[in-house]
């Protein structure tokens, strides 16, 4: 069973937010955390899940931070 499963360090919610720091869409997963971000003309959405808990943000207009420019630790960072 052990061989079936990958191991990994857990990143916390705040750490996951930091790695999602471009324009467009990107996603990242690591261990039991994931972040997804999408920016379209009218608004943006971000979902952060860690340890079974998920939190969602939806904003109108352009996202005010730096998005999709960070490093995902397991190279799952994906740009559309």
């Amino acid at each position: 069973m052990k061989d079936l499963l990958k191991s990994g360090q857990i990143l916390g919610r705040d750490e996951m937010k930091k790695i999602m720091a471009g324009t467009g869409q990107c996603s990242c997963s690591y261990g039991d955390c994931s972040v997804e971000f999408g920016q379209v003309e009218t608004g943006w959405s971000m979902a952060i899940c860690c340890d079974g808990d998920c939190e969602t943000y939806n904003g109108s207009g352009q996202y005010g931070g730096t998005i999709c420019g960070g490093q995902c630790p397991n190279s799952d960072l994906q740009y559309a």
Partner: protein
């Protein structure tokens, strides 16, 4: 004396209606929200309160026989690693189809990967990322969110056609459903449209109608309450919930609300979600805006009316009985590998599931396998 009798009779007559109201199944016996639009929805049908902690949880230890996808067919040399949380799993005849970010993988009933289609890109049969799939008796459709299109395949995964569509909400809960007659898209619109769009499966281009109102107007917060989780069974009966709210709506095929279920849950109280009363907020980052924590994450309504949904790590089943739903079972799935629990929680976070003939198939956040468990 006559006057005293009149007063007593009047008093009793005034008291009886409220007493009846509080003791019977009534739409006002569940809490209302601070959102006027949502509260209007809550007035449209009788409501039931279900305490999610009224029965004990069945803890299921995942054993090796529950894990599928550890082998690949000899003619399929490509290693399979699902990676990023897989959004959806479907079953067509005896095969399971699982989509990850760039491919749709096919597994036989023995749990052996057979083949895959797709790769990263923008061409036909390619996916940008965040693929979500569904099927009916004729098609398998893939929501290729970041390419802004729906790709329609036959059951052998031959690409039939592509329909461009504004899929601007690539979050990984179930915000669409496909039946033989209709495609329901619960995606955030760009205008004042309702939140759910309906398309005929004969014409994926033209929207037939929309329903389910935005409860947070454009420019107000918390906008995340407008996210929809929806499932529709083959009888066109629907289950709908707004993200982060402990209410489940059951709709008839004509889209009228038939039942409303309110879930009492200590976990919901722990979430401390913001009020659903629309407010204006300065700023435009996740640091500025009120986020909404998910309550129901995955949702399925089967043809017999039974409903399965997940809240955090738990899977719940509610069933109709004498025209009222009640909680039947609760499961919690745990990995049987103590060496992993030091670095990660052992509970499995379901990110896609289906239940057929009392068999649960699911994929989870980070494990990269398909799990099959008799319920």
């Amino acid at each position: 004396m006559h006057h005293i009798n009149f007063v007593w009779k009047s008093l009793i007559l005034c008291l009886i209606p409220p007493l009846i109201s509080c003791c019977s199944k009534d739409k006002l016996t569940i809490p209302l929200t601070e959102n006027e639009v949502f509260n209007q929805l809550l007035q449209e049908a009788p409501a039931t309160l279900i305490d999610l902690e009224e029965i004990s949880i069945d803890t299921v230890i995942i054993m090796p026989e529950h894990v599928l996808g550890t082998e690949i067919a000899s003619f399929f040399s490509e290693p399979v690693f699902l990676g990023f949380p897989v959004r959806s799993i479907i079953k067509v005849d005896d095969s399971l189809y699982v989509a990850n970010r760039q491919k749709i993988y096919v597994m036989d009933i023995e749990g052996i990967w057979q083949h895959s289609v797709g790769r990263h890109g923008r061409g036909p049969g390619e996916f940008a990322s965040s693929v979500n799939i569904a099927n009916n008796s004729k098609y398998i459709i893939a929501l290729d969110y970041w390419n802004g299109r729906i790709q329609v395949f036959d059951h052998d995964l031959n690409l039939l056609f592509i329909q461009n569509k504004n899929l601007n909400d690539p979050l990984f809960w179930r915000n669409f459903s496909l039946t033989d007659n209709f495609l329901y898209l619960g995606l955030m619109p760009n205008s004042n449209d309702d939140l759910i769009s309906i398309y005929s499966t004969d014409d994926f281009e033209h929207q037939i109608e929309t329903f389910w109102p935005k409860i947070i107007p454009d420019g107000f917060q918390p906008g995340s309450f407008n996210n929809i989780i929806i499932d529709v069974n083959n009888n066109e009966n629907m289950a709908i919930t707004n993200l982060g709210l402990p209410y489940l709506f059951l709709l008839n095929p004509d889209r009228t609300i038939r039942d409303i279920i309110y879930f009492e849950s200590s976990y919901y109280k722990e979430l401390k979600n913001p009020s659903a009363n629309p407010i204006t907020v300065e700023g435009n980052t996740e640091q500025d805006l009120p986020g909404v924590k998910n309550f129901i994450q995955q949702l399925r309504i089967n043809d017999d009316g039974s409903i399965y949904f997940t809240v955090r790590y738990n899977l719940y089943q509610i069933v109709p009985d004498d025209n009222q739903y009640h909680l039947k079972r609760v499961w919690h799935f745990v990995l049987d590998d103590q060496s992993l629990t030091e670095n990660r929680p052992s509970s499995l976070h379901i990110t896609g599931m289906l239940i057929e003939d009392d068999m649960l198939y699911f994929v989870s956040m980070s494990d990269g396998y398909v799990f099959r468990i008799p319920l």
